[in-house]
Amino acid sequence: MESSAYITLKDVVFSRAGRRIFDGVTLDIPKGKITAIMGPSGTGKTTLLRLIGGQLRPDSGQVSVDGHNVPALKRKDLYRLREKMGMLFQSGALFTDLSVYENVAFPLRVHTKLPEDMIRDIVLMKLEAVGLRGARKLMPSELSGGMTRRVALARSIALDPELIMYDEPFAGQDPIAMGVLVKLIRDLNSSMGLTSVLVSHDVPESLSICHYACILADGKVIGEGTPEELRQHPSDRVQQFLNGQPDGPVPFHYPASDAAADFGVTGGAL
């Protein structure tokens, strides 16, 4: 599996606003597989995806995608590389001035010279896949949160990318939609050999579809392996995260000063 890594991170250090978010992350994401990235909220999963996409540059360390060293790429090459990537943003990030149909058609119109009827076929096919073919005339403001995310998913697979990164695709989905999405992600991967990176909090769903998973906490990878290996992982922290126990070595709180000092001394300022 090491031989066919599509994305490689090596000793990545990254800080933001003076806070070190990654402190030496090393990670291989295999080609053609689904890799789940899990971790407590705010550990930098979204940040990790942005590093891979070249929107952020690491302070030190290497990020390479498909053999290209991303931070060192020239603008033009970076944009060319991104045409091969799809990314589903946590917020959906649909273009609010375009209809659902036009949103999904956008990457096709920009990057291909396909005739209009072919674009139409592709768009409707992608919308069908996420169950929203009937919603194609709506504007993004008329969609619910879950629908927004599914449209965004349809848009990110419009160009049939080699790599797709899903930032929390399951959040806000009802059980049926969730089942459909799980199946869709799995199908995309198996039928087209897509490399998928899945960021999610939903441990059971993620572990059920991924081939490989890693858990981030405190700026480091604390556990990685196949779902089976992770379930058997000796580390307390991994076990705490997988089983969702509130008490354990992984803190639930964002780093803060001593609680007694915060609550006690000011004496009910609010």
Binding site: Q55, Y79, M87, T96, V110
Partner: protein, 260 residues
Amino acid sequence: MMDRIAALGRGGLDVISSFGRSGRFLVGVLAGIPRPATGFPLLLRQLYFVGVLSLAIVVVSGLFIGMVLGLQGYTILSDYGSEAAIGQMIALTLVRELGPVVTALLFAGRAGSALTAEIGLMKATEQLSSMEMMGVDPLRRVIAPRLWAGFIAMPVLAIIFSVVGIWGGMLVGVDWLGVFEGAFWGNMQSSVDFVDDVLNGVIKSVVFGFVCAWIAVYQGYDCVPTSAGISSATTKTVVYSSLAVLGLDFVLTAVMFGDF
């Protein structure tokens, strides 16, 4: 004391770095040849939002300013018995100064703030980020058409403003106060020069259009992507554009009309 000096230094550095960033931003926007096939419809759309939708406020303001100029000019000039010079006064004031300047101020308030808010919101909702990740450069796709639209629309608006203003001045001066129409136009024509007055006024508005549009799109693009950040960026657009227009107007006037 040291803190104050340090704060001053930090403020100065911030200002310089924001100039640097906005310059680099501008290079990023203007670099690369726009592809006419995709660029033109985008530009057209922005011309509609930035230019056509600003027309109403520009026409109404132009009319009133022209009428006020007519009234004031008449009261002042009739003291010297030379109220026929009112046409010359209105035309020169509008074409050289008020046309470009007032249009630019209105533009900053009407179109500039809208541009900033729109781009800021696109940033806050990650639309710009997602565009980047699709391999589309938002600087060219989103920012460039808006910048060009402002640049093109401003002189058109300013010219329309001047013409409407002159017409408003004529309404008051000729139709209402009874200045002889032949003298009104005759005086105007003998004192207004097409190149020195009209074209210089147009050049002013071209400069203002560029600066206002630049400030508006940069403030939107550079804003802190939150509600408060967007609102403060919008305010900054209006304030900075107005100051820049008034300051540049002085410089341009000195260069164009000053005798030295």
